[in-house]
Symmetry: C2
Subunit: 336 residues, 2 copies
Amino acid sequence: MHNPVVIEALRGALVESQHRGAVAVVDADGARVLAIGDVERPIFPRSAVKALQALVLMEAGAVERFGLRDEELALACASHSGEPDHVAGVVAMLARVGLDEGALLCGTHWPLHQPSALALSRTGGAATAVHNNCSGKHAGFLCAACAMGCDPTTYVDHAHPVQQAVKAVLEALGGEAIPDAHRGIDGCSVPTFAMSLAALARAFARFGTGHGLARERAAAARCLRAACAAHPWHVAGTGRFCTEVMTSLRKRVFVKAGAEGVYCAALPEQGLGLAVKIDDGATRAAEAAMAAVIARFLPRDDDGRAALDRFARPVLRNWNRSPIGALKPAPALFAG
Amino acid sequence: MHNPVVIEALRGALVESQHRGAVAVVDADGARVLAIGDVERPIFPRSAVKALQALVLMEAGAVERFGLRDEELALACASHSGEPDHVAGVVAMLARVGLDEGALLCGTHWPLHQPSALALSRTGGAATAVHNNCSGKHAGFLCAACAMGCDPTTYVDHAHPVQQAVKAVLEALGGEAIPDAHRGIDGCSVPTFAMSLAALARAFARFGTGHGLARERAAAARCLRAACAAHPWHVAGTGRFCTEVMTSLRKRVFVKAGAEGVYCAALPEQGLGLAVKIDDGATRAAEAAMAAVIARFLPRDDDGRAALDRFARPVLRNWNRSPIGALKPAPALFAG
């Protein structure tokens, strides 16, 4: 099955590039509200499920035991830009369990936020694992391991109780068993599990509403959503999609990016879970498609629509900031 | 028409993402040797035609008049990484016509080569237009304008004699008239002209062989190819595709990347011109596809094949350098 073109990139009057993809929207009872393209093929959600991975942290009792703050819960759900306050937050999380950045097994890269990377270099600093965009999630895994009384030195292994608990959460919320063949290794070295787009949308409908979840899990999900809505900058960073959209819509939306063109979202007031995968893995297209799909299900008079429109139809500019083209949601996104 | 999948991105055993695209290979007489997907649809070649744009510099007599060196001709054809010697080379080019980086209208970005960007910041420097990956091409335009006796302050305008000469070269080599509607603005603010992939392949077959070109133009093309073959690092930079492939194959190949998933190449010994466009604009897929197509037409015992294989089937690694997947050329590239 060929997924349809969902985003076109225009240069002047011509289509320069185009992105195919699939979209699933499911309600809190698990019923399909929208299916564009193949929503049954397994895809790797990558970082788009960090908030589901963080349920393990919550259910281990780490918040009460270690006094984790809301900013830190947002960092556990984050692909952060490595700006100074992201880094300080992760260092603080690690300190709560008596660890430092040497315990992080995510690998090292320079901050995604270029001004922060350049400033770090300008002041004689160097990148460490704490600058990795996944360091908050890893700090969360370490806190979970400590709360569960498990070895914190092997937390990235598939067989580790934290990763086994993550897999169980994904299976329970998605409503699909995950076969061994669907296990891959993520960019930060933890397991990532391929699931259908329909299952991901179902998982986020449950995450956003608590429907079908045990009381403790529903409360944990509510707590993570509240933390991200209160601290959207900690979930991504300056100018980024998840931050901008959650800053505009606050608790009316939870949205999270994953690598290779994935986005997952929950619209609690509408009782919907949303999942997008761009076939080719392009972030620009995943952002534009997710913005268009969120806007499709929001009330017409919602004052957060302007932020969504900016991402759904961004103007493309050259290095002199002159407009040279635009991204445009394709008809499939509206008619699917 | 749907272009076929040409590159798959695997994570573990599953296909995580896939890239569709088109490939045209044409011989020096203009006959089609290979056509995968739609090779008639106009696409923007972007920086893949910098060497054709540089023909204007050559034909203006700038080399003799200003004493341009081979490294500088390679920079005129380059999308360079902004490493210190790239920057020094562009500054030297500008000085030959009494100009400095203030004359560049390409806009500013930090060096693409991250260690160079970080080092620039560490030593208290800041990015200027000379770090823009297109600054060598722009320095070439300025040298051409000076050699032609034209105003060097408006060289990016469509109506400027340099840009009009560029358009005429593209039409002559591609063998297609370029309608006004096919003009866009490139990332560096000069015009870019959409052409069919077949016309681009034809242009590079002529550029690589001189067939069908006037003697002066054939000599100019030979001179540019020799400059790039002798100084492939100046055409891109450390570790990059064009540099690595031309370092391995020297004058047996000329290859140049363009933004949004474009590659053009010439195989002079085989008398072939090659052009690739990935539908979604992904560089990783364009590199892998171009590497596979070049390898397809090289002799089986060519000792440059190892470099091509590394790009055609790269292992994908996480931040800990562990292998987590691979890019794989799809059957369409072999059977098309």
